[in-house]
Amino acid sequence: MSLRTYIAKRLLHAVLIAWGVMTAAFFLMRLGPNSPADKYIASLGAGHNVTAVVAAIESRYGIDKPLHEQYFNYIASLLQGDWGWSFGTSMPVMELIKTHWIYSFQLVLLSSIFAIVLGISLGMFTAVKKNSRADHIAAFFSFAGISIPHFWLGIMLILIFSVKFGWFKTYYDTSLPMLSLENLHALTLPVFTLGTGMVAGYSRYVRSAMLENMGKDFVRTARAKGLPERTVIGKHVFRNAMLPVITIIMLDMSGIVFGGAYITEVIFGIPGLGWMSLKAVFADDYSVVMAVTLIGAFVTLLFNLLADIAYIYLDPRIRYE
């Protein structure tokens, strides 16, 4: 299979899955016991012209049309970037997303950098020092890091560093300019909250991938050439170990990062997509909840695709097949 056919196949697969995701979302919506109108009206309370509102909502959602027509309209509007209307904030969902995504993005980006740098270094260190005291201690902490509920970790960090020591605010300050040291300071605890589990996971992947490659024959060849140990490990072993690790890290983006970021935003009051979605849940703002779920699925899909493609570019054995 040539490289181009492979990528084309992956792309086709991704399109198929994206269609599946949208279809699943549509049917989940229709399967739900409440129509979006009911939920919204329940939240309005008395004193409104209920029938008019219902009619407006239903025609907005196209609920008065036959099912297949609704389905096509739904997918068509999603593709055109019309993701529905947020009743809670009285603006299109797309506008809402445009103002909030950056907060999620900065949190996820900083946490990923933190986790990748620390996870890889820790993984390499423990692989080189295999079975040493340091390795055992690191293994214990990575196990703890994987097991600690990050929402609890976040609260404990607030309790210790914000409440007791007063080093940080207990809530994220949105008035800070995004590219400033103050903002970075404000994001310290959130990044640590989201990043700890990731560091623990990544360091374990890296360690086992390093160990697997350290026993390979080409490592002995590298040593026999007289290369210093730093080069043997840092170049020959590392480059091979990174192949599976990069894929795993990219695939991990969905589960750990989305769930984690959602809750981290809630704990620290960071107005990202997760925080926005939860607010919408309580405000019965249906379209927003659905939109955030869909975004999560689409970003996951994108990362899966990137992982596939990255792998073929990183591994010469596949690249030149």
Partner: protein
């Protein structure tokens, strides 16, 4: 049975796994016997609110109606409430034990549902192959694309948040990993001699699936199940923590949610349920990891 005894022997040698098992057994005993020695976890008593655990003190200002001002009193922990009380005077120990019951229920039932669905889908997919395999695996891909927690939140939002529904939802969304694992294990088994032989002897599909294929994938399924339990427990806790849990029951996530609001005063309300959650997840992880090592062929 002999195989089970063999695996047990090998698992027994893993010390962290045994510590984990001991903790889980302790938790189960606590969860079952709790109602017999604790007060009701929902019993509210504002006279006894925010009592710290014994050995700690808390200064709080209480509005005194007779003098019309705030009086600072020092609240001391008592052995009557060994883990203190929350902001509504509920006994923390009783609530934590109730939470243990919830978490264990969620962990075991939701994982059970997920494993059954996953095993059935995986085995059907691999055994019949062809179009069936394509359809089921694409469906699995679609499911896997939704971030787990986000999908859960959506489901709970759409269908309500009773504990039963939460358990169902976690089970119904968490089967993808099992499906993939069982599928790949079955694929490698499908062409083995003993399966071919029973096919040649005219065994029915169901017989082959339930007598030959499933038992042979069981050890991997058990390990995966053990390692999935923490995920289910954490999912419920996360839902409860952000306020989407079942408001009728005291679960660790609910308590933690309340605890976040009173960090400035009653720190133990947030610390204690998190600790329980942490140790429980750690225990299951230790056990699963130990089992994985013990079950690995030749991994001595």
């Amino acid at each position: 049975m002999r195989l089970a005894a063999y695996y047990w022997e090998r698992t027994k040698r893993q010390r962290p796994a045994m510590a984990g098992l001991a903790f889980i057994i302790f938790l189960i005993i606590l969860a079952v016997s709790g109602p017999f020695f604790t007060v009701s976890p929902t019993q509210v008593n504002f006279d006894e609110k925010n009592i710290p655990p014994p050995g700690f003190t808390l200064e709080q200002s209480i509005y005194n109606a007779s003098s019309g001002g705030f009086v600072t009193t020092v609240q001391r922990g008592t052995w009557e409430h060994p883990l203190g009380t929350d902001g509504m005077g509920r006994d923390m120990l009783a609530m934590l034990i109730s939470g243990a019951r919830v978490s264990l229920l969620v962990g075991l039932l939701a994982t059970g549902i997920a494993i059954i669905i996953g095993a059935l889908i995986g085995i059907t997919s691999a055994y019949f192959g062809g179009a069936m395999d394509s359809v089921l695996m694409r469906a699995t891909d679609i499911f896997m694309t939704f971030p787990f927690l986000l999908l859960l939140i959506l489901i709970v939002y759409l269908f309500g948040s009773s504990l039963t529904l939460i358990i169902m939802a976690i089970g119904l969304t968490g089967w993808t990993g099992t499906a993939r694992l069982v599928r790949s294990e079955t694929l490698s088994l499908r062409t083995r001699e003993f399966i071919m032989a029973s096919k040649a002897l005219g065994a029915s599909h169901l017989r082959i699936i339930f007598y030959h294929l499933l038992p042979n994938t069981l050890s991997s399924i058990i390990v995966l199940a053990t390692l999935s339990i923490p995920g289910a427990i954490l999912a419920e806790a996360a839902l409860s923590f952000i306020g989407l849990g079942d408001p009728q029951v005291a679960s660790w996530g609910n308590i933690l949610n309340a605890g976040q609001g009173s960090l400035q005063t009653a720190w133990w309300v947030a610390v204690e349920p998190g600790m329980m959650l942490f140790f429980t997840v750690l225990a299951f992880n230790f056990m699963g990891e130990g089992m994985r090592e013990a079950f690995e062929p030749g991994g001595d």
